[in-house]
């Protein structure tokens, strides 16, 4: 994130220098003063308003990055302020402040666009951290609106494209750090393989983008998609596994930036998320090929020749179990039981099942998928 340059605000006027990064709207004076002091100590310029009307005026004139708004106020309510903010500037990130016992309305407000909520009383560190995350999102929104709203600029074509070698080198330096902290050899090799495949994935997607803004947009779109899923699950911590499953389904793997994002959104430690993501078979922490080839290794399939089928597939695709080919086309996996035991041995390619496919049939399936991908 630290490499992103601050770009002008797209279609909107650039804010004046020295203007506020944060606008805080609350009817309680002590709250206003306390928060303002905390934020300004952290170098975040903060303007305050005591009701919704005044607040909206401030937002209109200052164009802050983040708005902190109390839900319960005399006059215009926090919800109404929330509804108006996108009309002023969709890049502004609203955060809701709420008293104890009104969590439901806070969740409600997140559904209509609030980025997060803080339950009073909150720790100053919590406030700063949440505002900072809001600022990051706002920055992403500015950057991407820039890409979306403006015609491609000429200078972008000359910008340096991050090449594969760079990515691999970065990966290797990260590994050597891992080595120095005492990973043993098999862990080291495992980690090397993981990073290599991740690096390949990034090199490929970076190679296909012309400029960094587009890459940022891609990440932003990932995060927006994840937000959509989290919202659908009502921001409930116990839905974490369901959220991860849906994310995996959409992206085919769970990239680090997405897991960090989910950690921040649901207030769950990143370690806990990794604990779950590495426990269940369904999740992949490595990028996978465009098509998932699964050989069922259930008992019924095993006695009717699943190991032989696996060998055949592995030989045709020239990859081992749990590997992805160099074109990022196929990932070969095994699955404990697909519940198609009567048709054993069973092969599943994406959503299609086939019962004991012959060599010719296998080649046909893989070739047709490759052709499809080429057409794209």
């Amino acid at each position: 994130m630290d490499q992103i340059n601050v770009t002008p605000l797209g279609v909107n006027e650039a804010p004046e220098m020295g203007s506020a990064a944060v606008v805080l709207i609350d009817d309680v004076e002590s709250m206003r003063e306390g928060c303002q002091q905390t934020l300004e100590e952290e170098g975040l310029q903060t303007a305050v308003a005591c009701d919704g009307m005044e607040g909206l005026k401030l937002i209109e004139s200052l164009r802050p990055k983040v708005v902190l708004v109390d839900l319960k106020m005399p006059g215009i309510s926090g919800i109404e302020v929330l509804e108006k903010i996108p009309e002023i500037d969709p890049a502004i990130v609203p955060i809701v402040l709420t008293g104890y016992g009104t969590i439901d309305s806070a969740v409600e407000s997140m559904k209509i666009g609030a980025f997060d909520f803080l339950t009073k009383p909150f720790e100053p560190e919590k406030l700063v951290e949440t505002v900072r995350r809001g600022m990051e999102l706002s920055q992403l929104r500015y950057d991407s609106s820039d890409v979306l709203m403006e015609a491609p600029k000429e200078k972008l074509t000359q910008e340096e494209v991050l090449d594969k070698q760079d990515v691999l080198l970065k990966g290797l330096s990260a590994i050597s750090e891992g080595y120095s902290i005492g990973l043993d050899q098999s862990q080291f090799i495992g980690e090397l393989k993981r990073l290599e495949s991740e690096a390949k994935y990034h090199a490929r997607s970076l190679g296909s983008v012309k400029d960094r803004e587009r890459a940022i947009l891609a990440i932003y779109n990932d995060l927006r998609m994840v937000d959509e899923i989290i919202r659908k699950h009502d921001y409930k911590k116990n839905n974490l596994i369901q959220i991860l499953l849906e994310t995996q389904q959409k992206l085919n793997w769970l990239p680090g930036h997405v897991l960090k994002w989910i950690s921040g959104r649901l207030h769950i430690f990143l370690a806990e998320i990794y604990n779950i993501a590495s426990f269940y078979e369904a999740f992949s922490l490595e990028p996978q090929g465009a098509h998932i080839v699964k050989v069922c290794t259930g008992t019924a399939c095993h006695v009717r020749g699943a190991p032989n089928l696996l060998k055949k597939v592995s030989s045709i695709l020239d990859i081992q179990e749990n590997e992805t080919d160099t074109n990022q086309m196929f990932t070969l996996k095994t699955v404990n039981c697909l519940g198609c035991c009567a048709l054993s041995p069973v092969l599943q390619v994406d959503e299609t099942y086939s019962s004991n496919p012959s060599l010719t049939k296998l080649k046909k399936i893989f070739n047709s998928l490759e052709e499809q991908e080429d057409c794209r």
């Binding site: 409930k236 911590k237 116990n238 839905n239 974490l240 596994i241 369901q242 991860l244 499953l245 604990n275 779950i276 426990f279 269940y280 078979e281 369904a282 999740f283 290794t297 259930g298 008992t299 019924a300 399939c301 095993h302 006695v303 009717r304 020749g305 032989n308 089928l309 060998k311 055949k312 030989s315 045709i316 699955v335 404990n336 039981c337 697909l338 519940g339 198609c340 035991c341 009567a342 048709l343 054993s344 959503e351 299609t352 099942y353 086939s354 019962s355 012959s358 060599l359 010719t360 296998l362």
Partner: protein, 630 residues
């Protein structure tokens, strides 16, 4: 869609659906379970629909896309009612002929009928096919009679009558008593008495209470639950609502594996339909009972099917078991009393209420009442789902219903109870199948997988397979299970690779004892069953591997080799075409040869070589080519 506000509303809609059901004299049922769907049943059904309309038969003939018929290997299964004419492996091209000959003329399409392999006779009616004839289909009957994504077809066969009866005519205590009287035991593996479990949760202190469907069917080789969830989601849901009423829970969960997309989808639709009809939600049928249901997708971990692990997963944590000093039925989900039952158990509940506990009790044996669905798979002629009364012998299931072993091979063993079960030899084939009978011989009922193995299946490899499975699925929380299984796997792999040492068998027995004594949950406690039962019944196979470096079943890769018999080979080239590794190549004019340095031992050439030539040979690696040929 109308919300049903009273029992009377439900009666009305049921009558209407029943009449609608009978309005057309002929019904074409096309099985749309996962098995048949992968054999192209969707296209067959679509073609039927088009052809019925094109011929103007829509007033006489209706089309139903039903759940699994069980005879998956012969799919797609098409059944034409009322005569129950059964056509197997029909393609869209066959559809016009079926309509013309069977529906218009009342005749048969001979080539699509089931042929009895013993007599060569063609059998037209579904119920005369041996696979169906010897079954007692109580639960599965509904599945083949309804369209799982249309609640009206479930109403038409009397769906939700049990619920309305329970809500109006029974107190929760009476419902529990009825289930207790039926002697229903849990179908998931443990065989715990269901009524007793319900009573414990109902009496446990703490509110709210939860009821949960365990659809995390993890046993490899078993797919009953998948078919029931896909084919009759309303039946399971009805059982769950009744359970909720009896126990005093107003919230239920379905825990379903994400590997079962169709089951997830059909259950989701069933919940939506039931909610729209007022069968879920507040004040169900005007009786004041509230009940709602959510689905939790399992993310793929065998151990998560264990009750405490499953509940931990619903709470959003890693699905690891906890020590159960206090049962989950007293302190389960979020520390509240929670009643967890298997899919098949819940699906039996409406049947018991509708037909009475005494009827359920009249089936099966002392201690194991009712019917049980088995997934009969592996090396058997008729693979599929079979429902039989408890107490039937293994021989009847495998030879009468299953039609014996294919390709004239000899029966060797049958595996029951999944990875926690055991392997049973031919001498135990006359054993009656029930909970206690199987336990006595070192296996268990499990969720109902019956995997048949013939003489080409290696028993040491089978033990290695299950141990490998369990070693991967062990959550790693307790040491005996984590380390013990890993060691057992190492030893078994060595034996399979020809590196076994004398004393290995005794070492395996020692480790098995530790696992059974010291593991935390049932996964570890029963993990040694496959190894122990194979040693018990097939010790000579272990010894052949260890002492003679020989695999009697010719299955262990490191101990066998493939080669082509020059005298038998006619040069047809099928082996070359089937080889994925380019290891088979032509030598001279006619003959083929296998390059052993390239051979990946995938058995493709052996399978491809026509039986009348049998030129591709598979032999033990230690034997000399010439000796074996002679």
């Amino acid at each position: 869609m109308t919300k049903l506000n009273s029992i009377k509303d439900l009666e009305n809609i049921k009558t209407a659906c029943g009449l609608e059901h009978q309005r057309k004299p002929i019904t074409v049922t096309v099985c749309s379970g996962t098995g048949c769907a992968s054999c192209g049943s969707t296209d067959v059904a679509d073609t039927f629909l088009k052809e019925i309309q094109r011929r103007g038969l829509q007033e006489r003939v209706s089309l139903r896309r039903s759940g699994c018929h069980g005879f998956c290997e012969q799919g797609p299964v098409t059944v034409i009612h009322p005569k129950e004419t059964c056509y197997l492996k029909a393609t869209p091209e066959d559809v016009p002929e079926i309509l013309e000959k069977t529906i218009v003329e009342g005749g048969l399409v001979d080539r699509l009928l089931y042929v009895d392999p013993q007599t060569g006779e063609r059998i037209p009616s579904l119920n005369d096919i041996p696979f169906y004839k010897y079954q007692q289909r109580e639960l599965l009957e509904t599945i083949s009679a309804i369209d799982p994504v249309d609640i009206r077809t479930y109403f038409a066969v009397g769906g939700y009558s049990a619920l309305s009866y329970v809500l109006t005519k029974m107190t929760p205590d009476q419902v529990i008593k009825e289930i207790k009287d039926s002697d229903l035991r849990g179908r998931g593996g443990g065989g715990f008495p269901t009524g007793k479990k319900w009573e414990t949760t109902a009496n446990a202190p703490g509110e709210p209470k939860y009821v949960i469907v365990n659809g995390d069917e993890g046993d490899p080789g078993a797919y009953m639950d998948r078919s029931v969830l896909e084919g009759n989601p309303h039946g399971v849901l009805e059982g769950l609502i009744i359970g909720g009423y009896a126990i005093g829970a107003s919230k239920g969960y379905f825990y379903i594996r994400q590997e079962y997309p169709m089951a997830l989808n059909n259950v989701k639709l069933a919940i939506e339909e039931a909610t729209e009809h007022g069968l879920l939600g507040k004040d169900i049928l005007g009786t004041g009972f509230d009940f709602s249901v959510s689905i939790h997708r399992g993310a793929g971990a065998f151990v998560s099917g264990e009750s405490s692990a499953l509940m931990s997963a619903i709470e959003g944590h890693v699905g690891e078991p906890r020590p159960k000093y206090i049962h989950t039925s007293v302190q389960g989900l979020w520390g509240k009393p929670s009643c967890l039952n298997n899919v098949e158990t819940w699906a039996n509940v409406p049947l018991i209420i509708n037909k009475g506990a005494h009827r359920f009790k009249s089936m099966g044996t002392e201690g194991s009442r009712g019917t049980k669905v088995f997934s009969l798979v592996g090396k058997v002629n008729n693979t599929g789902l079979v429902e039989v009364p408890m107490g039937i012998t293994l021989r009847e299931i495998i030879f009468k219903i299953g039609g014996g072993i294919p390709n004239g091979r000899k029966f060797k063993a049958v595996q029951t109870g999944g990875p926690s079960g055991g392997v049973l030899p031919e001498s135990l084939l006359d054993l009656p199948v029930d909970f206690d009978g199987l336990n006595r011989v070192g296996s268990m009922m499990g969720s109902g997988g019956l995997i048949v193995m013939d003489e080409d299946t290696c028993m040491v490899d089978t033990a290695r397979y299950y141990t490998n499975f369990l070693a991967h699925e062990s959550c790693g929380k307790c040491i005996p299970c984590r380390e013990g299984l890993r060691r057992m796997l190492d030893i078994l792999t060595d034996i399979c690779n020809g590196n076994g040492r004398e004393g290995d068998i005794e070492l395996l027995e020692d480790l098995a004892e530790v696992l059974r004594e010291a593991s935390l949950c049932a996964l570890g406690k029963s993990a040694a069953n496959p190894v122990m039962s194979t040693i018990r019944y097939f010790r000579e196979e272990y010894e052949a591997h260890i002492l003679e470096k020989r695999c009697p079943a010719l299955m262990c890769n490191k101990l066998i080799r493939y080669w082509i018999d020059e005298e038998k080979c006619v040069g047809c080239g099928l082996c070359e075409k089937s080889c994925p590794a380019d290891a088979v190549s032509k030598v001279g004019d006619k003959l083929y040869e296998i390059d052993e340095s390239k051979c990946i031992q995938c058995n493709a050439c052996f399978a491809a070589c026509p039986e009348k030539f049998s030129a591709v040979q598979k032999t033990n690696a230690t034997g000399k080519k010439a000796e074996i040929a002679a």
